[in-house]
């Protein structure tokens, strides 16, 4: 538990601050604290919950809220595909408890552990996800209940999350191919934002980066084969 906590602490701390802000917004959208807590467990998506509260405040139809939420969370498909090979020998119960609770941040921490720490277990992966989910849920509940008396500096809190993403990205930049993938993904996001395609930026950028990496690695594996055939 101590080992898991040491890896989960940064994510849990940032979830508390962001979760308080999210709970306050959910209260403004008309949710009771218990509803914010249930939403935090069944949806468990920071971006999704912020967007849901904002759309409800704007008076959007429930169908539009659900569709938008589904769309912005499509990157989970990429995370699930990347994590699946590591879970081949996991018990079904652990696999289910883990796969249902992956977030951007927990994905980064767990994939790094699974790739570089042979002693890291399925149970530790599940525990990390659930500790993070617990802090997120508690913070949403508290934010929703105490929204009127709390003042959370949202801009600084959200930069804590950006800093965590930067740290996770830097840890991934272990080759020139990965650097190329990251550069193309970032450029793809910038291009989407400048084009006004704000709801697909993350998925589109990531897919562009992966395609660039696939092209680069196929060329680098094809080149020696061609050379050998001459």
């Amino acid at each position: 538990v101590k080992k898991v906590l040491s890896y989960a602490a940064a994510v849990m701390a940032s979830y508390v601050v962001i979760g308080l802000a999210c709970g306050m917004l959910e209260a403004q959208a008309g949710m009771a604290p218990w509803m914010a807590a249930v939403l935090s467990v069944v949806l468990y998506s920071g971006a999704g919950q912020f967007m849901m509260a904002n759309l409800l405040l704007a008076g959007s139809a429930p169908g539009a809220v659900a569709a938008t939420c589904a769309f912005i969370n499509m990157r989970q498909i990429l995370y699930a595909a990347a994590l699946a090979p590591h879970a081949k020998s996991w018990r079904l119960r652990d696999a289910l408890a883990f796969a249902a609770t992956v977030t951007d941040e927990s994905f980064g921490v767990v994939i790094e552990r699974l790739e570089h720490d042979s002693t890291w277990t399925a149970r530790q992966s599940v525990a990390l996800n659930w500790l993070c989910m617990g802090s997120w849920t508690a913070a949403n509940f508290a934010g929703c209940a105490l929204g009127a008396v709390l003042a959370v500096p949202t801009e600084l809190a959200s930069f804590a999350m950006t800093a965590i993403f930067i740290c996770l990205l830097v840890a991934q930049l272990t080759s020139s191919t990965y650097a190329l993938v990251a550069a193309v993904a970032a450029a793809g996001v910038a291009a989407c934002k400048l084009a006004g395609l704000t709801q697909i930026t993350i998925v589109a950028g990531a897919v562009l980066g992966i395609l660039a990496g696939a092209l680069a690695t196929s060329r680098s594996t094809a080149a020696p084969a061609e050379k050998g055939g001459e």
């Binding site: 940064a10 589904a70 800093a163 965590i164 991934q172 690695t217």
Partner: protein
């Protein structure tokens, strides 16, 4: 709420369990390995690239980019999530305060 949660579970569970039991080729594993750097670069860029803020408040954008560069240096040296988050928030707060003084 339920339909949003249902789609989330669909994205999280279907690819995971569809690929979990399969033996993958080296090429497939190589391609799956590209997902983490692509995803995190996209998330970082999504946070930092904000054309509307650039246009209306360039000082905040500069503060954000400088703080991000500082976090990247700390990350390269330490790879410590908590340290990066703390350092990033403190540096960003100081830079924002500096922009109000200028």
């Amino acid at each position: 709420m339920l339909s949003a949660a249902a789609s989330m579970w669909l994205w999280r569970l279907v690819p995971f369990f569809a690929l979990r039991g399969r033996t993958m080729s080296a090429r497939t594993q190589e391609l799956l390995g590209l997902i983490p750097p692509a995803a995190f670069a996209a998330l970082v860029a999504n946070d930092l690239v904000q054309p509307s803020v650039w246009a209306t408040d360039p000082a905040t954008t500069i503060a954000q980019l400088l703080a991000a560069a500082g976090v990247a240096l700390v990350a390269a040296r330490t790879k410590n999530l908590m340290l990066c988050a703390l350092f990033g928030v403190v540096l960003y707060a100081l830079l924002l305060a500096a922009t109000t003084l200028i």
